[in-house]
Structure formats: structure tokens, C-alpha cells
Symmetry: C2
Subunit: 337 residues, 2 copies
DNA sequence: AATCTTGATTGAAACGGTTCAAAAGGAGGA
DNA sequence: TCCTCCTTTTGAACCGTTTCAATCAAGATT
């Protein structure tokens, strides 16, 4: 028994292939009567349109690609879920690829996705210290629908959606200063990369504004953006600097920081205030609930998807970054004024 | 300027479309000379094969679908990464869908994936208390390539890969008993579901074997398999039972348990031993490193992918569960003999 | 010089839909 | 009865590949 095609349906329903197709697509050109018949046959035969043939005809696969650094950090997991939701609302599917923060890997996956015929791409930029962006340039040259999420590559014209990270660290720092902290440090990553640069900038602005001395030594560049990274950063600088406030670049890292401080017998927040970034779901229910900057994930994702579809449908907004407001979650891990 | 097709390539290279196609596919039937020419033209034109036409011809999209409950629990994130790796080795792509532990949602996504033309499916079964499995039955009736990962639906013939969970909790419990603990409880989920049932079974076996009384009251059925769930479970039963050992069904939950115990002033492991399941990456670097059962994620994933491809290529192993060995990671959160 | 191999190339038929100009049918008006 | 105007339906072209029987060209064999 061969595959059931639309021909079989048409034959059994006593109509032409064209009519059958239109019936399937609920076209207004075919009578209600005929539609019903065709549908009945479809039911009976268990017919299902061939997606490849359909895609070929329509030149769309109704699927979009999503590149993320990975899913060990629950923040990206939450983004994935939100994105999935937003995409599904439009009856599209998501393919995902893991870049491991390497633009080389990113390029490979983009290539693979193009070979699979995705209609558009949503990319969380890899935090690669020596990015090679030819693949992205290539996409943009071909007007391939693309939006960056959570950051962007500054060398490149783009559509991007991100949280207002600078504002977040500005407010957070301001709060700490108001609470009387005077030796605040930030544990960040490579400042050449937008998401870090922006966080650092807000931090600096707050310090400057309050007449507290900002200098490079207050920004610790950590290599791993992970729990382990937070752990290690404390080992590296705590004894030397003896800060009274620590802002980590993300929550997972902040947890590593707290964990390491505790095991050294340092109390949080009595001896040191610690804050994170992202408000991942476990942050609020830690033994010491974490003060953190919440990124509006759901909003960012639906905005990104909206934007992508706008591009795909040719009603593209002008290129640029949409920055969505963050909210500082004041909890127990940090003293804030 | 229209789309560049293989015709353009063929024309410019001065060969027929058939030859061009074969050259692209590196077929041995075309001469090295010709291949080189064709490739040169491809380069020059920036030609790229149309994936839809290709899929139609080959009736394969070289992509497979992956359904998971979600990615907030880093365990699933790690699975996703491992799976991605395994799939990529075979030059395939992964589409993913989030079931939120609802078989209804699962059915929807499966449907969507079929409409996208995935070649096969890897499913982490939804932990749904009233599963509706008609969609799965349907797939199997049509011999659609499918493997379950991390569990399976017992009502259904299947291919599945999972860790030997029973053995894991058996060993873990045995260790605790050896350390002299006598009032061990397990925080689990609905025992109708395989992954929970198996964990409970190992727990029970260990207790039975050591003459410790097993009874239903030692298995606390929690509703949320999350950090919050662990937190809540302690609130619910700790004061009443006063256990000296607690085995949580997964690490995230165990962390919730520890966190709640600590905030009640109960020491871990001095007053209560706590263990988890999965060995997600943060478990080892907690303030109190977590004793846990490691599931061999990478192995499970590559095994699942192997199995799926075997099915797709018709060299299917007989149906059944492949159970991979776990290892108990003895760390500080629990006394083990 | 005629025939046989062998390897490379061609051309057309799939693959399974969608779309749209043209044809058919039916109702209403003159 | 004949003509128009609509609504439905038809049938063929098209989407861009892959595949494979048939053809071709050029040496090798007799």
C-alpha cells in the first residue's frame, strides 16, 4: 500500500485535485458541500498533507530557528519556553541549536538551519571573545529575517530585543549605595560584549553620580558565566578587595558567589550584600532569597517574535534595539536603601 | 533577480541539470573535472540547494523532533544539549517542543511536528496523571520512528532508553541504612508513572532487604517536581515524621528540601541526610555538596539517537527498554555507609 | 575497420502539493 | 429561448530537486 496522496482523496471524493487542495485549505472558492465531502474522505483515509511538497509550493516551512548558548543556565531555558509559546501562537515550530558561546559553532548551526529551510532566525549572540561574524553578515546581505535577542553584535546593523540592562544595574547599585555600601564590585564578563558592557555602564553611572570612585579594578572579569565561575571569582578577589557589595552578572553566578562566601564563614547580607541578574525561578526561594534584576522574558520573547514576523512579512520596523524595562527585585541577599 | 536554482548552475557550468545535481551530491558517476566546474559555479553564484525540493525528492528532512516537559529544570537542559550533539553527529537537526507534562500538549506538538515533516521523534514522556495516549498509539500504528527517553508509557509497546533508576535508589538507600539511618522517606511523584515507580521500587527493595519496615507512608507524593515542590514537601511532612533521611526524586527538589530544612534550623547532614537524583551540574558545588544519583545523560542520549536511526533505517532492534547504569555520587549532604 | 567496453552525460519522469486561467454549470433577466 | 453573470470546478503549469534508463564519446579489442 503506497502513500496516500491528495490524488487518492480527490478520486474518492469525486473531485479534481485542485478542488481537493482548495478544500483542504478552506478556500472560499469551494462550496461548503464539497468541503464537507472532501473532509470526510480525508478522515476516512487518514490523509495528511505532505509537508515537503507543501513547503516546496509555498516556499515556507513555518518553522523558525533559535540559537542559544546552551540550556544549563535556567535563564536560557526560560527563554526557550517563552519563545516556544510565542512561536506556537503563530502556528510555527522552533528548531534549536546550541552555540556554546562560540561564533564558529553559531555559523555551523546557521548553515544547518538554512539547509533545513527555516523561515527566520532568532539568535542569542554567542559571548565569544573573538567573534567571527561573516555568517551573520552573509545573512543580512541576503535579507534573511533575523532578530537578536538579549544582546547583539555591535559591528553589525540589526534588529534586536533586549532588556534595559544598564538601567537595571544603575538602580541596583544606587540602592546599595543608599544602604551605605561603599566598596561595591561587579563580577562581569568581557566588556567588549554588549550584555556585559551595558551592565557595567549602569554600574559605573551610579557610582559616578554618587561621587563614589569608579575604577577598572571594581569590575572583575570572570571567565565562566556559571555557578563555578562565581565560586572561582570569590576565591580570586575576595581576600584582596574585601568588598561590602557584590553584583554578579547573572543569578547562577550570584548563587556560586553566595555559596563560596558562606563556606568561608562570611555572612550574606550582614557582611556582604550580593545581587544577581535575571531573576530565574529559583532565585526567590533560596535560603537567602536573592536580590536580582528581573528581565521581562515573556515580553522580550513575544516582542522578538513579533519583530521577526514583521520582517518576514516585509512590514519591517526600522533596524534598531528595542529595550524593555527591567525591575529590580529587592530581596534578602542584599541591603538596599 | 529571481531565485538561483540548479538550472542556473547547470546552464552556467555547461552541463545538464542531472549532472549538476549529481555533482552537488558528490556522486561517483560524475567526473572530477565536472565536479570542480560545477562547484566553482556554485561558489560564484552563491547557490544553495532548496531544502523543500530536496526533502520532497528524498522524502526526508534530516530533522528529528524532541519533546521535553520544559527547560527550567537544568536536567532537561543537559539532556537537550547532549541530544543536540548526538543528532548533529549525523548531520540532522533537532526541533523541540515543550509539553509542560501534559499529554494533551504533547499530542498537539506531535501533530505539529508531523506537519513539519520530522523524520523521527524522541520523547521524554509527560508526567501526566491522566494521560491520553491516542496520539502515541497512532504514531506506532503508522510505524513512525519513535523512541522514549528517561521513561515510557507502560500501556504501550515501545522503544525506550532510560537509566536504571531502581538500582540507583536501591544503592542510595542501602548506603543510608548502612550509615545507621532508620527513618528514611522518599519524596516522589505519582507512582503510576514509570520514572517514579522505578525509583520507589528500588527504595522499597532496599528497605525490605534490610528488614526495615517499608510502608506507604514513607513515600510522600509531592505535586510539583520543582524547587518549590521540595520546599513545600518539607512544610507538609517534616514536623510529623521527623525523618533522619530524605531522598528527593530529583536534585532541584533536593535543593528545595535542604533550603527549607536550613531555614528551619535543621542541619544537613547532621540532623537529616538529604539526597537527590540526576547530578545536575550545580549539585556538586553547593555549599553542602549534594549526594545524588547520576544519570548517564550523554550515554542515554547517544543511545536513544542510535536507536532512533536504527528504527528509521529499518534495522530496528526489538522493542524494549534499554537501561543504562547509574552511579551514586556520595557527597556531603547525606551520611552513607 | 568494425565491434565492444566503459565511463560520463543527458533528459525526462517522479516527488506531492498549490494556484490560476479557462471551462462548465446554473440562475435570472429580457 | 437566448444571453449574461456568478459561483464552482477543472486541468495543467509550476515549485526545485533527485534518479535512472538511454545515449554518447572515446578507447580497447579483434
Amino acid at each position: 500500500m503506497g502513500k496516500i496522496t491528495i490524488k487518492d482523496v480527490a478520486a474518492l471524493a469525486g473531485v479534481s485535485v485542485g478542488t481537493a487542495s482548495m478544500a483542504l485549505n478552506d478556500s472560499p472558492k469551494v462550496s461548503a458541500e464539497t468541503k464537507k465531502n472532501v473532509m470526510a474522505v480525508v478522515q476516512k483515509l487518514g490523509y495528511r498533507r505532505d509537508p515537503y511538497a507543501r513547503s516546496l509550493s509555498l516556499s515556507s516551512s513555518r518553522s523558525i530557528g533559535f540559537l542559544a548558548p546552551g540550556f544549563r543556565n535556567p535563564f536560557f531555558g526560560e527563554v526557550a519556553e517563552a519563545l516556544q509559546l510565542a512561536v506556537e501562537e503563530r502556528n510555527n515550530s522552533l528548531m534549536f541549536g546550541i552555540t556554546n558561546d562560540s561564533t564558529e559553532q553559531e555559523a555551523k548551526i546557521v548553515d544547518q538551519f538554512l539547509d533545513r529551510g527555516v523561515d527566520g532566525l532568532i539568535i542569542i549572540p554567542a559571548e565569544d571573545s573573538e567573534p567571527d561574524l561573516s555568517h551573520i553578515r552573509n545573512l543580512l546581505n541576503h535579507d534573511f529575517p533575523l532578530v537578536f535577542l538579549t544582546g547583539y553584535y555591535p559591528e553589525i546593523p540589526f534588529h534586536a530585543v533586549m532588556a534595559d540592562l544598564a538601567e537595571g544595574s544603575y538602580e541596583l547599585t544606587k540602592g546599595m549605595l543608599l544602604a551605605g555600601l561603599r566598596n561595591i564590585i561587579m563580577i562581569a564578563g568581557n566588556p567588549a560584549l554588549i550584555p556585559f558592557r551595558e551592565r557595567i555602564e549602569g554600574f559605573r553611572r551610579a557610582l559616578d553620580e554618587c561621587g563614589a570612585a569608579f575604577d577598572e579594578s571594581k569590575v572583575i572579569i570572570s571567565d565562566g558565566m556559571s555557578y563555578e565561575g562565581g565560586y572561582a571569582a570569590i576565591d580570586k578577589v575576595y581576600d584582596e578587595i574585601k568588598p561590602d557589595g557584590i553584583i554578579a552578572i547573572n543569578d547562577v553566578m550570584a548563587m556560586g558567589v553566595i555559596s563560596r562566601l558562606r563556606s568561608k564563614g562570611i555572612r550574606v547580607p550582614e557582611d556582604v550584600s550580593v545581587a544577581g541578574y535575571d531573576d530565574i525561578s529559583v532565585s526567590s526561594i533560596q535560603e537567602t532569597p536573592l536580590t536580582t534584576v528581573e528581565q521581562p522574558i515573556a515580553l522580550m520573547c513575544s516582542e522578538a517574535v513579533d519583530m521577526l514576523f514583521a520582517i518576514m512579512e516585509g512590514r519591517a520596523a526600522p533596524e534598531g534595539v528595542v529595550r524593555l524595562p527591567v525591575s529590580v527585585r529587592h530581596r534578602r541577599s542584599a541591603k538596599t536603601g
